[in-house]
């Protein structure tokens, strides 16, 4: 059905396969082995998925005024699906920047970093910085997703399965 090399797309043809590890599946008969490796399989997972990001964030050339030029709060460790929620009923709104206030209003109910970013139309990198401030002030609590190295429990998978079935 396919011949070797036939399906290389642009990125692969530009040499991306050289950057990744060799295909891990055991090669079968040559004829059955026609799917070439895809473009770019960088091994970021092994170094931690956020490490790229942190390095990258440090070299942003367009500083974000919203964050006072900061792109990464020390140790906020937020993921795009970290869930955040306000900790208190009453907040001293007068001391808040408008973006901080906007976030606080939206996380009266638990909400993910990605949803905040979408609703406020602010890139996730910036939302994480702003949330870091609010967490440091004690206004917001965050729940991190499971660490990538940790396999989800079967009970969690079963709950997800049941939830999807109920849709």
């Amino acid at each position: 059905m396919r011949t070797p090399g036939e399906h290389r797309n642009g990125a692969a043809a530009r040499g991306a396969p050289l950057r990744g590890p060799a295909r891990s599946r055991d090669p079968g008969p040559a004829a059955a082995r026609t799917r070439r490796r895809g473009p770019a399989a960088p091994d970021a997972r092994t170094t931690g998925a956020t490490s790229h990001f942190d390095a990258a964030a440090g070299s942003l050339v367009r500083p974000y005024t919203m964050t006072g030029g900061r792109t990464r709060p020390a140790g906020s460790g937020l993921d795009m699906i970290s869930i955040v929620v306000t900790t208190r009923e009453r907040v001293d709104w007068t001391a808040l920047e408008p973006e901080h206030a906007a976030i606080l209003r939206l996380c009266r109910r638990p909400v993910s970093v990605a949803e905040l970013s979408a609703q406020l139309d602010i890139p996730m990198t910036v939302v994480k910085v702003l949330l870091g401030d609010l967490i440091a002030r004690g206004d917001v609590l965050a729940r991190a997703p499971l660490p990538p190295a940790e396999l989800p429990e079967l009970t969690l998978l079963q709950a997800v399965l049941d939830g999807i079935r109920r849709l």
């Binding site: 059905m1 036939e6 399906h7 797309n9 990125a11 040499g15 991306a16 950057r19 590890p21 059955a32 026609t34 799917r35 895809g38 473009p39 770019a40 399989a41 960088p42 970021a44 997972r45 998925a49 790229h52 990001f53 990258a56 964030a57 070299s59 942003l60 050339v61 795009m80 699906i81 970290s82 869930i83 929620v85 638990p110 993910s112 990605a114 949803e115 970013s117 996730m124 990198t125 910036v126 870091g132 967490i135 004690g138 609590l141 965050a142 729940r143 991190a144 997703p145 499971l146 990538p148 989800p152 079967l154 969690l156 998978l157 709950a159 997800v160 399965l161 939830g163 999807i164 849709l167």
Partner: protein
């Protein structure tokens, strides 16, 4: 960071978020599938990337492009009071592979949408998940006027391992999307405990 792992206090009510990726080539129907099963209209978020984040070989011809943003769309399914599932469509363009790493980290698994007009457009996604040993199913999204494949033909053409489920789907249909997600989670569970697979 503040965490919610104690048994008392305000943090205990915070749900745990899990995610499933919807991958596939450009225009394969990723956003459509996210939208058909999500309880919210798919949202779009942006992430900032710098040159350092992208493959150097992917920057040929791109002048003065120090930062760029990647748009991601995603949907949400509330599982119960304790768990919320996010569905993320992966960016289709090859130069955003870096983003896939962040997306894939911690994902339960992925749906790879195969587009019957150009089956090969799903190969990079299949390779990506195979390399990282992330469980995935292949959902064959039929487009009118394109070749009609059987699941077995797709399995052969994409050279899938025998245990990878292949389903025919219509990304616009909620029940069809549900079936695909169910097949994925069952596949993830089977891989976790082969004894249960019967």
């Amino acid at each position: 960071m503040a965490s919610a792992d104690s048994d008392s206090g305000p943090g205990t009510d915070i749900p745990l978020a899990v995610k499933i990726l919807i991958a596939g080539g450009f225009g394969a129907g990723k956003t459509t599938m996210v939208g058909s099963v999500s309880e919210i209209t798919p949202l779009s978020t942006e992430e900032i990337m710098t040159e350092a984040s992208m493959g150097v070989d992917d920057l040929g011809g791109v002048e003065d492009k120090t930062t760029t943003t990647v748009a991601l769309d995603f949907g949400r399914i509330t599982i119960d009071e304790k768990v919320v599932l996010y569905l993320f469509g992966t960016p289709g363009q090859g130069r955003f592979w870096f983003m896939w790493d962040e997306l894939a980290a911690g994902a339960l698994g992925s749906v790879v949408i195969a587009d019957t007009r150009r089956l090969d457009s799903c190969f990079p996604a299949v390779d990506f998940f195979e390399h990282r040993d992330i469980p995935f199913v292949v959902a064959v999204n039929r487009f009118e006027g394109a070749c009609d494949y059987t699941p077995e033909e797709v399995r052969d053409a994409v050279d899938l391992g025998g245990d990878v489920p292949v389903l025919m789907t219509d990304a616009r249909d909620r029940d069809s999307g549900k079936r695909v997600l169910i097949a994925l989670v069952e596949h993830v569970m089977r891989r976790r405990s082969p004894a249960l697979s019967g």
